[in-house]
Amino acid sequence: MAENFVVDATLDVRGESCPYPELYTLEAIEKLEDGKILEVIADCPQSFINVPASCKRHGHHVLSTVKDGTTLYYYIQVCK
């Protein structure tokens, strides 16, 4: 599943709890151009549900999700 791709920006929201992981992600996406890839590093369980759900709702692609213990890495491709 995990392809080798390169991310254009990294948002580290470890230690943040909702709603901020989700808000920060949507704001970071705003700053990126179409087709760019954002990496989101999160460890708040609630955000495991909120972040991908909100990205999909806004029309962006969640390329992959990598789980490392209790931390999740999301790769989101911006679609504008």
Binding site: S17, Y20, G69
Partner: protein, 412 residues
């Protein structure tokens, strides 16, 4: 063989969160049975207020003349009360759940403001809930199915409060700054070290055994109510952690990101529970009814603002602490402080006289009859459900409009 089977079951049950609809339907059924078996509600903030009273007693403060403590029956210590064991059971149950799902991790907020806002939000929410005689449980999730009109006022207040809370939470002073770095970096590939968290599984079994021992002790000692409260508490705790049932999120996200899944699930849980409590009340158990006063409505607004600022409601901080999110200790401490402040102000500052005195405790069953009570509660839930759908659609349209704008610009 057995280990492989266990791993398969574990993977299926604990590798992902449970569907909030199923969790809240189960919570509704359990809440109805808890009421049917004990005559009390799944509730937490009344107990938080008593903790505040017990804490003051430790410092030799005489609380015997506080009217609010007489109202909520501050007797003994947490271990002597069913509500006390319900709360402790919830903490143990969600700790078990967090550990067995390997969700536990110490998490410290990166920004110091989270501690401050967590505490302040907790105080506002704690004060509001006790003004209303209940939080997102006794004046909301388990309050509405008691046919108590005060829950209607509280729910309306909370919806308004969370709306204003969201307006505040997006301001820079609340939001802070994220750690966003631009620059090319290779993506992380799947790590094979998924098995390293097995310690959490052993800890989970220790917690499970503690829960069973507590329940067995009280039941065999002739205090079955306390044992049952601990067991039900553990089930509720497990459900809210597995379903990530955050009432704050359920309401806030409607305003913030237009997501209504959790809100709809909460309504479904209340609907199921209403049927259950109706049967028990019909069979003769006295419903828990509180004052349908301006206090319930204003308390709801304060609660709504407070939970959004704090990032968690009274049940939300409980399961988050057991996931290792230490900032929620501040929220919990704020809740106890706010609730105790209200208990003091109740008679000493005249809060009761201004907001609550003279307002009736409206029981819909006795004032409208069974048909009227069931119909009106059902209609209220349907209206809430439709409002959520309306809000979701409104937000979807907003996104659609936004995404067509830049493309128009490029073509022009």
């Amino acid at each position: 063989m057995i280990i492989a089977l266990l791993q398969k079951v574990h993977n299926k049950c604990f590798n992902r969160f449970w569907n909030p609809f199923i969790v809240l339907l189960l919570a509704g059924v359990f809440a109805a049975f808890y009421f049917g078996l004990t005559g009390t509600l799944w509730a937490v903030t009344g107990e938080f207020t008593r903790w505040g009273g017990n804490l003051l007693q430790l410092f030799d403060v005489d609380t015997s003349d506080w009217a609010y403590f007489k109202e909520i029956k501050l007797i003994g210590e947490p271990v002597d009360r069913t509500d006390g064991w319900l709360v402790m059971g919830m903490l143990l149950g969600s700790l078990f759940s967090a550990l067995i799902s390997k969700n536990f991790k110490w998490k410290f907020p990166r920004q110091k403001r989270r501690w401050v806002w967590g505490f302040i939000g907790g105080v506002i929410a704690g004060f509001g809930t006790r003004l209303a005689m209940g939080c997102n449980l006794a004046a909301f999730f388990t309050g509405l199915p008691q046919f108590s009109l005060h829950a209607w006022f509280f729910i309306a207040g909370t919806a308004i409060g969370t709306y204003f809370g969201v307006k505040l939470a997006v301001l820079p002073v609340f939001k802070g700054k994220p750690k966003l770095e631009f620059g090319l970096r290779p993506a992380k590939t799947a790590s094979p070290s998924a098995q390293k968290q097995n310690k959490q599984l052993y800890a989970a079994f220790v917690v499970l055994i503690i829960i069973i021992l507590i329940a067995a002790y009280y039941i065999s000692a002739g205090k079955a109510m306390l044992g049952m409260a601990a067991l039900f508490g553990a089930v509720f705790g497990m459900l809210i952690q597995r379903g990530q049932i955050c009432f704050t999120s359920g309401l806030r996200d409607l305003w913030l990101t237009g997501r209504g899944t959790l809100g709809k699930a909460i309504i479904a849980g209340m609907a199921v529970q209403t049927v259950g409590t109706a049967i028990f009340i019909f069979k003769g158990i006295a419903p828990v009814v509180h004052w349908a006063s301006p206090g319930a409505f204003i308390g709801g607004i304060l609660f709504g603002v407070g939970i959004v600022i704090a990032g968690g409601c009274e049940t939300g901080w409980m399961y988050r602490i057991t996931e290792g999110q230490v900032q929620f200790i501040a929220v919990g401490a704020g809740n106890v402080a706010g609730a105790t402040l209200l208990a003091y102000g109740w008679d000493h500052w005249g809060v009761f006289d201004v907001f609550v005195k003279g307002w009736p405790e409206v029981n819909l069953v006795s004032s409208l009859g069974w048909g009227g009570a069931l119909l009106s509660t059902g209609a209220f839930l349907v209206v809430l459900y439709l409002l959520i759908i309306w809000r979701e659609n409104w937000y979807t349209r907003k996104i659609a409009v936004k995404s067509t704008l830049p493309s128009k610009k490029t073509t022009a």
